[in-house]
Amino acid sequence: MKQKIDTPVNIVPENNILVTVLAYNEGASIEAVINRIKRILPEATIAVINDGSSDDTSEVARRTGIEVIDLPFNLGIGGAMQTGLKFGLIQNFEYIVRMDGDGQHPPEEIPKLLDPVMHGEADIAVGTRFSGPDTFGYKASLPRRIGIYLFSRLASRYSGREVTDATCSFQVLNAKAAKFLDNNMEQDHPEVDGWILLGRAGYTVKEIPVGIEPRRKGASSINQWRALYFIIKVGLTALAARSRRFNE
């Protein structure tokens, strides 16, 4: 009997899990991250979303034999994340893991996030760095902590639930939540915006304590000069998310 295939290329494994790894100039660290994911989730499909890197991120990722989506130019973190969601939805994955390719999100923590989503306890599970023991020794700088605190207060106030780490991008979503975010998310650092929109739309979001590793190679996309601009931009987006119209 012919298997039903909705897309020209079917890569959905038995466990229906897609791990999207967002990477921008992460050629130095991407291979190690992929190998660790393969050890933890050998059955899952791994897709690197190469956000217009100018280094050898794409080539290094391709050599590991995983799926690589090359964006033609840099779209930023939100655009890359949305590409991962679109890809997962087009390919009919049921669970989408979203993590960064710089090695800060330890693949060993993915099962903790997958568990509540796969058991139907949450539509989306988001990692938090501040409500449990940090087993990987992550230490955020003071300005960053202040920013995270402010955004978490904002997200708590407008999403209707307590949020301790509103800017963590280590997440697992089911297809329903992924579709909602793909349709409605803002592309400028979408985490805080996502918290508020998902809360307003009645989705179940669960924070799970996870360890975050310190960055080993490369540099953060947010330097001190851009921090203020970042706070204003994300703050404005979050306030707009409070009353913005959205599609179900």
């Binding site: 012919k2 897309t7 290329v9 989506i69 090359d70 964006l71 033609p72 779209l75 655009g79 679109k86």
Partner: protein, 204 residues
């Protein structure tokens, strides 16, 4: 009311008419979309009316209790520029969103095409190794053709393209200049996909 023309008024009328003709030419040459041209047309017309009908600007300034009439003209000009900038920003935001969406879809489609080519290569390899199974089927030759069509850049026949005595519609198979003998790659993809799926079903 008789229109008193002085040099300044003539200059302003000249600028207004010039602006309208420029906008019109940009529209008919396809360099300005009519929807955006309308805005400039309206502003140019208002500009002309303000000059041709004396007392309009002065009357409006009096109504708004503006003592120095030229201030009203500057204020209206500034308002128009602010409004136009806001409108343009909305258009840019919309285009940015669409551009992002296109880039995302392009990258996913690119990934799908890469996978399809890899699959086709695999089928052709199998067909070459195991002639009894695949080489007898039409699928094998079709995949080979598709593989060539997808990977080969069309060769443009310069002699043919410059030969005006042999127009496109008169060519025997009505094919386009530079056509490499295979159907258009985009039109061909769905059929290739269907065939690839059918292979697993044992139809071929």
């Amino acid at each position: 009311m008789i229109l008193e023309l002085n040099r300044l008024k003539i200059l302003v009328i000249f600028i207004g008419v010039g602006l309208i003709s420029l906008v019109w030419h940009l529209i008919i040459r396809g360099k300005l979309r009519p929807v955006y041209g309308i805005l400039w047309m309206i502003v140019s017309c208002l500009f002309l009316l303000a000059i041709l009908i004396p007392g309009v600007v002065t009357g409006l300034a009096r109504f708004l209790q503006i003592e120095y009439t030229p201030s009203l003209i500057f204020a209206l000009g500034l308002l128009f520029v602010i409004g136009l900038l806001l409108f343009q920003t909305v258009v840019i935001s919309n285009l940015t969103k669409k551009n992002t969406d296109l880039a995302q879809r392009f990258s996913i489609l690119n990934w799908q095409v890469e996978h399809l080519i890899t699959r086709m290569n695999q089928f052709v390899d199998i067909s070459e190794k195991d002639g009894n199974i695949f080489s007898q089927t039409s699928l094998s030759s079709e995949i080979k053709s598709a593989k060539v069509a997808l990977t080969k850049e069309p060769e443009i026949d310069q002699t043919e393209s410059t030969n005006s005595d042999f127009p496109l519609q008169d060519r025997p198979d009505n094919r386009k200049i530079g056509d490499n003998g295979f159907p258009d790659k985009h039109e061909q993809l769905p059929q290739i996909q269907e065939n690839l799926l059918n292979v697993g079903d044992g139809k071929e």
